[in-house]
């Protein structure tokens, strides 16, 4: 699979940060940056740009805020053309805090949005665009919102925004290939002047397969994380995506080294991957938060009871 327009984004630190309060030390993030840059991946997302008025720096690590100094600490002296991305949540960023792109190490701002918040997302991406950033809108929890509101939102984005890509985000790991095909085709059809992206979650072991499905139907912006690290079951493993894509600029070997040296040891300390309560949440199209809470209790392996509790919610 080689298509020149494909762009790969690694969000190891950003999505992985959701399982450790964004508290990766600078050494680890620098190792990730170095390996991902060496692999030829196009973008690396280092965290969220959240307001320190809303979140405490005592409670959360550096990558909840992504200060320029922290970014420079993990990137300075490493020769690379990789672009740096940060994510913002609607209502959690102090927009005036965001410097013009020319004064920042950040190249891209990705706004995570539900379908219902699309007007805010468009407003924010237009603001960041004016400051010189590349921008995307990442439509979260799309498995719960695939109807006419989504169609309308896509038309608005096409007409009113300057984003370079709109991402379909399967936050609940609930999508099978057919809905991925339907969503990518609809987005491609409406977004004549933007690219379509896909960000999978691996609750049902479908993050990589669905990413391939999205590629087949024309998605060109693809997210992955090293060893699949990420909230709950995690994301599309970057190494599998690199194995699939045949672009000669990509090299899997630095990522394999990084997994050996950093991710395997980390996995013995924090939990992600194929874990039944996340699979159950995915198959029932539910947010993984109940499963994440369960994993902190002594009922963490009571799968049937958890399954029945989710059924009763419906």
């Amino acid at each position: 699979m080689f298509r020149d327009k494909i762009r790969v984004l690694d969000c190891t630190i950003r999505d992985g940060g959701l399982i450790n309060n964004h508290d990766f030390d600078h050494r680890f993030v620098r190792e990730v940056y170095k390996a991902v840059a060496a692999s030829g991946v196009d973008y690396i997302e280092l965290g969220y740009k959240n307001s320190k008025k809303l979140f405490s720096t005592k409670e959360f690590g550096h990558w909840k805020f992504c200060d320029d100094e922290d970014i420079k600490k993990v990137t300075d002296g490493i020769d690379s053309n990789i672009k740096i991305s940060t994510m913002v949540d609607i209502g959690r960023v102090d927009m005036d805090d965001v410097k013009p792109a020319a004064e920042s190490p950040v190249d891209m701002m990705r706004v995570a949005s539900y379908v219902k918040d699309i007007d805010k997302a468009i407003f924010m991406t237009n603001h960041f665009h004016q400051k010189g950033y590349e921008t995307t809108i990442n439509v979260m929890a799309i498995s719960r919102d695939m109807g006419p509101e989504l169609t309308e939102a896509l038309h608005q984005v096409e007409e009113e925004s300057n984003i370079i890509a709109l991402y379909i985000v399967d936050s609940f790991g609930a999508l099978y290939q057919e809905p991925v095909e339907k969503l990518v085709k609809e987005a491609k059809d409406i977004l004549k002047t933007k690219e379509v992206g896909f960000h999978g979650h691996n609750h049902q072991q479908l993050a990589f397969g669905n990413t391939i499905e999205a590629i087949m139907h024309g998605a060109n912006f693809l997210d992955g994380t090293v060893y699949g690290i990420g909230r709950a079951a995690g994301n599309c493993p970057l190494e599998l995506l690199l194995g699939f894509l045949k672009n000669p600029k990509l090299d899997i070997r630095p990522v394999l080294d990084l997994i050996s040296k950093e991710l395997v040891p980390l996995r013995s300390k924090i939990e992600w991957g194929y874990i039944i309560p996340y699979a159950i949440a995915g198959m029932l199209n539910e947010h993984p938060k109940a499963a994440m809470a369960l994993r902190k209790t002594d009922k963490k392996e009571n799968y049937r009871e958890f399954y029945e509790s989710l059924l009763n919610v419906e």
Copy 2:
């Protein structure tokens, strides 16, 4: 997804046996049988029917041979309509040892075959068919043999055999969705009087996604194993398949209980699942045996070196 013709086969004990020399104790196998039967799955495969002249009962457990008495020990007293399958490898079974189906607890004999051995597989399945068994041919390592020999083999099977289904077996976990689509369509096209099956391996986390892909293109015989247990990275997790299929006769809950009580503890003793050397073997379309050997050495986490060693083989 509800299609009346779909048949689900659990091969937890058979494929799982490849990682412990088929040495599950009777209590464990009985628990698996009980849960899988209660879930409404159509078939359960309990092991191989190998000749004791070729393999030692000291070296291998019961499920390498599947004697009737062992099968009866794990099934007697459990009320169920589930059918029992055993697998045979070409050249490893003493065919005269196999009693007529009417005198055996076994309902189905599945013959595992490479494309090159298809004549032998047809001969064997015809023999078992005459003895009253349902039969299938499971075409192994198909990712290495997708050309004209396969086409010819499919025609032979259609014309010369009495099997109920021919399985596409992705032994190396190397197939992406597009080749699965191509293979299922070709098999459906040629096998007018048989069903098509799919057996995935999970080296690249695609066993479940590829099974869905096979279903979409008309495969009706589907293999899974509880918690994905199986050689190397394992198989399509049965629980995910049950979550996807909407046939009201299927019930995921007994399988969830089984995972809680039996498979999670077992996984801490024997290894299967998403492990990088298996992923590397899959993406390079190689047999997992080199990766399995690596996992027994102190270089088990040296992924880059392993990757480069496989590249040099080519």
